[in-house]
Structures are given as structure tokens and as C-alpha cells.
């Protein structure tokens, strides 16, 4: 327990010194507030830069708050997720490569504590970023379009956080298994591309972790989704599995560290 707290402090200090806790939330806030704003000013933007022919008219749909939050989620799921996952995927193997890990591995530490400290910091970073991003998106949506039910909004954000925590665990797992470039590639294929593939051909199955983000936005609408609970449970099971595999491989690959 003591080593865990010390490793946690070390991870926090490192994340703080590399400004992760500053720019990641800022990025998510930016992504969150861009969509309400651009949709609101769409007509002006088209007039200013669009080079529209005379008499051209375009009727824009009337957005309801849930559409905007859906669009923001889409932003988080593409750009935000890629950036987040790349950052997390280097946490374990970069230490192995530049030799920092040697200093840690020679001490009698438990690999459980090592992996968990990284996972906790990564998850906190993700949860903080996503919550602030959604808060920004919701703030603008409430000003420009109208409000949504507070309780279901909180529920949606928490359920999206489960997805981010899952993404962190998977990224760390790959980080423990492979070297830097491979880990990044595999993580990008599994997480952001998985989301894309799931949205393309996902109508053939009803629950997979990649659907969790969409299902959580659906919590805002009144329609009841019977698959939501199952998806959530499946995600949590896979999350625990990813953590276990990650810990095993952190121990197994401890010898590959550069001295």
C-alpha cells in the first residue's frame, strides 16, 4: 500500500511536470465548446467563407440539445480519444526504453502497485478532461439551445467516464505488452478505429464496449435502451481483464528494460 501511494505521487508529479493535467482538459473543453458554437454560427460562417452562389439557400435543421451533445461526444470519440490514448500508451514502455524503469524495477515493488498507480493517474486525467469537456459543451448548449435533465446528464457523463477508464486500461495493457510504436499502433486500432468500425457495421450486435458512448448519450432521451446495462457490465468485465493482463505483462516484460 505504501509503495502504491509513493508510485502514485511519482506519477502525479510526472504528469504535472509534463503539463498533461493542463493541456488535456483544455483540449477536451475546446472540442466540447466548438460544436455548439459552430452549429450556432453556421449560417454566418457559410456566408463569410462559403462563396455561395446568389439565391442559394440552405435550411439548417433545428438542433435540440441532445443533438449538440451527440456531436460533442463524436468529437471526443475521434480526436479527443486518439490524443488521449496516444498519451496513455507510452506510460509504461517509454519508461522501459529510456531506462527510468531500471531504477524502479531493482527495488522490491509489486507490479500490481506499479500498474495500478499508472492506471489511476491515467483514469483521473481522462475523467477530469471528459467532465470538463462535457461541462463546457453543456454550458454552451444550455445558453444557445436549451437545457436537459440534470440527473440524466450526470448519468451520461459518468457512463462516458466508464468508457474512458476502459480505454485507459486497454492502452496501458498494450503499453505493458509491446514496445512504444507497436503499443501506440495497436491501441489506436483497438480504441478509436474500433469505435469507427463499430459505428459502420455495429448494427449486427447489440452490446460491445465501443457502443457505450452512444448508449450513454441515449440516456438523455426518454427511450429506454434494454442493452445499456449489459453493455456497461461487459465493459467493466473487460476492463478488469485488461488490468489483469496488463499486470501480468508488466511483470513478464520487466526484463526488457534498457540499462
Amino acid at each position: 500500500m505504501k509503495t502504491f501511494i509513493i508510485l502514485l505521487q511519482k506519477e502525479f508529479r510526472e504528469s504535472w511536470r509534463s503539463f498533461k493535467f493542463l493541456w488535456m482538459p483544455l483540449l477536451f473543453i475546446l472540442l466540447g465548446i466548438t460544436d455548439p458554437l459552430t452549429n450556432y454560427y453556421m449560417e454566418d460562417i457559410l456566408n463569410a467563407v462559403g462563396n455561395m452562389p446568389d439565391g442559394f439557400s440552405l435550411s439548417l435543421p433545428d438542433f435540440v440539445p441532445i443533438d449538440i451533445l451527440m456531436a460533442s461526444t463524436g468529437q471526443f470519440q475521434s480526436i479527443g480519444l486518439i490524443v488521449f490514448v496516444i498519451t496513455i500508451a507510452g506510460m509504461i514502455n517509454r519508461e522501459r526504453q529510456n531506462g527510468t524503469a531500471t531504477l524502479i524495477y531493482v527495488r522490491p515493488i509489486s507490479f500490481f502497485a506499479l500498474f495500478m498507480s499508472k492506471w489511476v493517474v491515467g483514469s483521473l486525467l481522462g475523467i477530469l478532461s471528459v467532465s470538463l469537456g462535457y461541462a463546457g459543451s453543456m454550458y454552451y448548449t444550455a445558453i444557445l439551445y436549451g437545457s436537459v435533465d440534470t440527473m440524466s446528464f450526470i448519468q451520461m457523463v459518468m457512463s462516458y467516464c466508464v468508457w474512458i477508464v476502459f480505454a485507459t486500461a486497454v492502452a496501458l495493457m498494450f503499453s505493458a505488452i509491446f514496445k512504444t510504436a507497436f503499443a501506440t499502433t495497436f491501441t489506436i486500432i483497438v480504441i478509436p478505429f474500433g469505435v469507427m468500425i463499430d459505428s459502420l457495421i455495429g448494427q449486427y450486435w447489440h452490446f460491445s464496449p465501443w457502443k457505450l458512448a452512444n448508449y450513454s448519450v441515449q440516456l438523455l432521451s426518454d427511450t429506454h435502451n434494454e442493452y445499456y446495462i449489459k453493455t456497461l457490465l461487459l465493459t467493466i468485465i473487460l476492463l478488469i481483464l485488461a488490468i489483469i493482463i496488463g499486470i501480468l505483462f508488466t511483470r513478464k516484460n520487466a526484463g526488457t528494460t534498457k540499462i
Partner: protein, 63 residues
């Protein structure tokens, strides 16, 4: 010129400005980067928002 509601757009500009300043200060203070420093300076200054974030992901050398 369309009149812009500055109260709405200001936070966006503030966030971009914070990212820009923090990245630039860090670039000046850091010992070594991946690739030449002046290239990163150009990237941070001329690429809005994406520049500083790219610098934080790829540019910083952690050792």
C-alpha cells in the same frame, strides 16, 4: 462584418491563448526536444491549437 457576441467566443480564444503561452514557455525552458527547437517554435506559433498540442505529445523529450 457580422457582429460577434464576444461573450460567447472569448472562452475559446482564452483557451487557445493559454495553450499557446504554456507551450511557448515550456519550449524556451526545456533542455532538448525531439527535432530542432526552432521548428517547434514555428509549429506552436503558426498552427492554432493543434500546434501546441502536437508539441506536448510529440515534441517533449522525457528523460
Amino acid at each position: 462584418m457580422i457582429d460577434i457576441n464576444w461573450a460567447l467566443v472569448a472562452p475559446l480564444l482564452v483557451i487557445q491563448f493559454i495553450l499557446f503561452i504554456v507551450a511557448l514557455i515550456d519550449l524556451i525552458r526545456i533542455h532538448e526536444t525531439n527535432g530542432p527547437k526552432w521548428v517547434w517554435a514555428i509549429v506552436i506559433i503558426f498552427l492554432n491549437t493543434i500546434g501546441p498540442i502536437c508539441y506536448f505529445i510529440f515534441g517533449r523529450k522525457t528523460s
